[in-house]
Amino acid sequence: MLSVKNLHAAINDKEILRGIDLEVRAGEVHAIMGPNGSGKSTLAQLLAGREGYQVTAGTVRYLEQDLLAMAPEARARAGVFLAFQYPVEIPGVSNALFLKTALNSIRKQRGLPELDAMDFLQLLRDKMKLLGMDETLLPRAVNEGFSGGEKKRNEVLQMAVLEPKLAILDETDSGLDIDALKLVADGVNGMRAADRAIVLVTHYQRLLNFIVPDVVHVLSQGRIVKSGGAELALELEQRGYGWVEAENATRKAA
């Protein structure tokens, strides 16, 4: 579904990604782990189409399309979704209006009829209930005055409503207490499907206790330095990122 080859990218001429190779197939859950500054969030944002990055080499194919050539809204309509690490506040625009606008934009692209107000509200209520979200968040402005946990859950709510093919969750676990983490994990697990891929970008292993990945990648200094199964995350938890970096340095030296 997603094929990243030798991706190099820079911000203001500072190279952040230095040759990423990543293959994600439909039905898989991948975790990308790594220390702060390793390039995890850059990769996530770049895949969603954020401006300000210069891609200096490499390709990104998504469902046989050149992802990097597509505008952010085109990527979203083609099924790419990014749960933001820092969700943006949109004053004056209610959460309900925002979600309805987004959903109808995507349904239109998929050739589906727009949902009427009643059906839409019902859909939202069902999904919010699953995530343990208060309905009073609907008439409120998007993310404005939301707690950290509410913002993160709101991201997962958007994912649940928009039903993407490729969902990238950037540090969605940060700022969540254990109960909220479980609800969010249940929400994500509920979306695992044969025709959907999920990429979890995370610093900590904690989330992976609840969402067990098929593949774990370790990102360091702009490269994926190690990949493995779910057990790799546990090993990282015990031995720290220093272990992988040291091992990698040794390998490079040899």
Binding site: A48, G49, R50, E51, A71, P72, E73, R75, A76, R77, F81, L82, F84, P87, V88, E89, I90, P91, G92, V93, L97, F98, K100, T101, A102, N104, S105, I106, Q109, A141, Q158, L162
Partner: protein, 442 residues
Amino acid sequence: MNVQIESWDNMALARVPQCLAGRAVPWLSRARQLAFERFAAHGLPTRREEEWKYTDVGAIGKRASLAPDNIPPDPSFEARLFAWTLAQENVHLMVFVNGHYSSELSAPGELPPGARLDSLADLLDGTADLPETLFDEQHEHTIFAALNNALATDGAVLNLAAGAVLEKPLYLLFVASGHGSAIYPRNILIAGEGARATVIEHYFGMLDAHNFTNALTQISLAAHADLQHCKLLQEGKDAFHVAGIHAEQAAGSRFVSHSFALGGRLARNDIGARLGGPDSQCSLDGLYLLEGKQHVDHHTRIDHLAPSGTSREYYRGILDGESHGVFSGKVVVHPHAVKTDAHQSNRNLLLSQKAEVDTKPQLEIFADDVKCTHGATVGKLDDDSLFYLCSRGIDAALARSLLIYGFANDIIGRVEVASMRERIEHLVLDRLPQGEQIKELL
């Protein structure tokens, strides 16, 4: 020191009050004459005056006439239709055509006990005793108000006795009809102790009417009175509009003012509140949404004269094309006004390179133990917000309109009357490129 070369004739203008309402009332004739003399001596303001630094009203001086109509023209079909629509709403409706009350189009309905609603012209020509200070120099916050004192034709006079409550809003619709008329509305809103009302002033001009409106609204709130005032400026694209709204507040009273400036070529609103009694509150909000060569200037002034007053002021501007917005907000905390709590903010969104805004917040504090803050910003649409919306599949043009709508909606949402809120929301959406699409989603 008449600095402008006015093409109209001061001599002729001086005789106009002889044709206006109240011409048989000696004190009024005298007051009008003195007011006219003050205007004639000063002339139109120029940009050399600090209060008019950013707003050039020279174009008003080039008009053929500043004299109001004696007999208003027939209102257009569009105006009639709109008045009829409003009459079906749950409001007390008074319609003025070019500054003259139209009983035909109005539907004041039944008023609750203790409430009186009249047309000013009726009162001036009738036997009612009006205070002789009504047209005094003290009401002339600008020289345009002096001209209004001299030439005011008509307006609404709402008088609420102590405890009277107007549940339905009083809707004052000022229609500008015909071509090039000068229009001088004068409204007087008096709320007795504990009285409560909502008043809407809607200036509705035809697209092609290049009229000049010079309006003045005087508001007096007794102790614990509560008045919400909402002004909607929807004049034609060539219209000039100058207006004053001034409230005097006694102890524990609350004055809420909203000013929405959407239409008109050149507009200036002077809005003021004097918190004369302790524990009074005032809240001044405004939104100017400009395009083309529109110029809109809001000058506000809040005087805290007594202890423990609270004032809040939120003004926002959205400027496109080559439009020019001006915000000057003065908050004066006088020596006895301890424990004043004042907050003011003016935020502006520039949508084009050529749009311009001048913002001038001013705090003057002469008392101790006060809490006063103010802030002003001028910026563009936020890239992070645009990316967030686009990343959800919303196309860039719709995302832009949605953000502009949201920026405006924070101010529109402060209006308590739901029908008015929706009317303004729709007018704003009508101006946005993807507004129709947003309307369907709401």
